[in-house]
Assembly symmetry: C2
């Protein structure tokens, strides 16, 4: 018998236990395993559950039981998650986690610990919820040079943006609806300011390019400044506004990870990813491009990825197959985003077409229902972002909004 | 040093060598491996290549070299591929293949051989080309009960259907264009009659449900009977005609694998998969639904999946992590498709609305530009297919076409 332990019995933790127990017999039969639920660690009491006898409040019960081979960390937060996970790895127990904050802050260190102790650290659930992305990126696409990744990595903001587009709702109303439906937290900052997407693009960047990318190195903009007018112009342009977490690699080896709203054209599969769904597009030399689509959050979708990792860890028992990436103390491999060339959507009030054309040359003007004559919205040619900012400086009080165009 | 061997130097074989050699240093560094190209087996001569010294015409060179740990079979066909692959596995060498015919016909037997000889048999490239689907289905989604899979599994037919929809081309013209562009073979039978998609849905069905599904058990219809009118009606209905390979599981444990053109509604992500791209949607209890999208064929996309498997086999050396599925001699677990309930698009000439309504009750009538008054196209209510056929029998000379509606 191989015992598994689950650290945390919140939304994802209880979902993990539920899915595992429901499908346990099938899982064991299909994989030639003999997995059993050993422990659930939580400081709270959960009397009356069919598995109430499995709860413990002491991590040492798990660390000191040699039958525990796989631990699922689904508590969230950095502490004591980090200490618990590291101890488990140091005891030779493989760990899977759904904790993006933990992987984004401590991934390199924990992967190293796993390697050193011949066990595995897996985190499929940390990015894209149920969507297979970590394992595909590491294994299926491992023969390629990755050029870029662009993803809709946060379901809450995608729900809000979908409502703005399809139901013409204003941002605040859409946010309120997301909160009422339970998609957004009471304090929605981490979602709408892009911090959640930022952690996820850090994980994907680290994995794809082999160096740990910390959240504080990533230029991050949320969706709070978006207006209904912006999404109307995006539709007129032939696309949709999406919150995109992306990273791309330059010839000189630097990379540019970034989170920001972007105009995504209808030719790009990401433009069709709506509601709370996530989609992640990966570009590389052999495969060209791949997109994975599915539920990026929620109790059972996240549990699906956790249980998948539990099975894989158990199948790999004794072989450390986790990837590693380098811990870096300086961020000099991260490109300054203002030096990258972009096309920019700019919405102005009180600037004439002559003035706009004098600045940018030929631009693409957009229209929307109810556009006042004084309002001009347009897409600039491809220029360095710092040059676009400089050009617009003269009219900076006239700029109502700017959004980058996703060009990959 | 670990040597790899490549069996076959055709399109996929040369792509595999090309991609591997291009990215070898990165692959070895990222994975802590020391892989080298050891042999390429081909009966033909390829003088003047930078790796011409690696060619051999004798499989025994590979079988008898203990440094060869991973073999990529990219020859295609059943013989001698099967004999070569089986010998490699019996010599404890892991094998990866892009050969869907081989996996669909011999998968259970080869997986068993891999298990018995502590090595691995992988076939990510056999289905969906570059698209990660085998490993995600087996590992990432392994904690779930799979309900159904529906995929656009053949790029050639999807290209033809896209041209019919977007450029209003007739089937024959679109096929000719596909041949001119090199997407379709001179003899396009395997693609347009659905045989290629059939092999792929056999592989996915076997993997998802644990019993080997043979191609001859799968009801397969191609796209040769489709007309431009059908695709116009599909558009009017709010969707597109796609060649769908699918399988679904019933409460009684039977499954229904099938290949046929289907009406796919615009709410389904598969309807947006166009050109030569493939998309595979998977449904299950924890994750709800997942779609993978990418290039389903071609030299480098297929090589991408082969090289990914080579790396994984090398990382797993000594651990057999391949899944297995049961070899079945009878097909009693396959449901009779005529007993399944479907909605059917039916196009008739010379049948009145009164007569149609008398047969089916309320139906949804569709329209198209240039529809003659005598032509009626409609979607039936959900009924057993055998009942629909029986109802239409009275008017069978008036039926111009029928297409099932994809309902998952």
């Amino acid at each position: 018998m191989t015992k598994i332990a689950v650290l945390g019995h919140g939304v994802v933790g209880s979902g993990t236990v539920e899915l595992f127990l429901k499908n346990k017999d099938n899982i064991n039969r299909k994989n030639g395993l003999d997995l059993e639920l050993g422990y659930i660690l939580d400081i709270r009491d959960f009397p009356g559950l069919p598995y109430s006898d499995k709860f413990t409040k002491d991590i040492n019960d798990i660390l000191n039981d040699p039958e525990v081979k796989v631990v699922a960390e689904v508590m969230g937060g950095l502490h004591p998650s980090f200490e618990f996970v590291k101890s488990c790895l140091e005891h030779g127990k493989s760990v899977t986690t759904s904790n993006k904050e933990l992987v984004a802050a401590k991934g390199a260190e924990l992967l190293k610990a796993a390697k050193e102790h011949d066990c595995n650290f897996m985190f499929e659930a940390s990015t894209g919820g149920a969507i297979p992305i970590i394992r595909p990126l590491d294994r299926c696409l491992g023969g390629n040079e990755i050029y870029a990744i662009a993803g809709i990595l946060n379901g809450t903001t995608n729900f809000i943006l979908t409502k703005m587009i399809s139901d013409n709702m204003a941002f605040d109303d859409a946010l309120k609806m997301a909160q009422e439906l339970g998609y957004a937290e009471k304090d929605p900052t981490a979602d709408i300011e892009g911090h959640d997407a930022c952690r996820k693009i850090c994980i994907l960047s680290s994995l794809a390019f082999g160096k740990h990318v910390y959240p504080e190195w990533v230029h991050t903009e949320g969706i709070t400044k978006l207006t209904l007018e912006d999404s109307m112009y995006a539709e007129n342009w032939g696309g949709a506004v999406k919150l995109i977490g992306s990273v791309k690699r330059f010839e000189d080896g630097t990379i540019l990870p970034m989170v920001r709203p972007a105009f995504v054209c209808n030719g790009n599969q990401l433009s069709y990813v709506s509601d709370v769904f996530n989609g992640i597009m990966v570009y590389g030399d052999g495969f060209d491009r791949i997109m994975m689509y599915g539920r990026g959050a929620g109790k059972l979708p996240t549990a699906s990825a956790v249980v998948g990792d539990i099975i894989d860890c158990a199948r790999q028992d004794g072989t450390s197959v986790s990837m590693t990436w380098e811990e870096c103390s300086d961020s000099s491999f991260i490109k300054d985003y203002t030096l990258d060339e972009v096309q920019m959507y700019i919405r102005t009030d009180g600037v004439s077409e002559n003035e706009i054309n004098a600045l940018f040359g030929e631009v693409e003007y957009l229209d929307r229902a109810g556009r006042p004559d004084s309002e001009k919205a347009f897409i600039t040619p491809k220029l360095r972002e710092c040059d676009i900012i400089e050009k617009m400086n003269k009219y900076k009080n006239n700029v109502l909004g700017t959004i980058r165009v996703l060009d990959f």
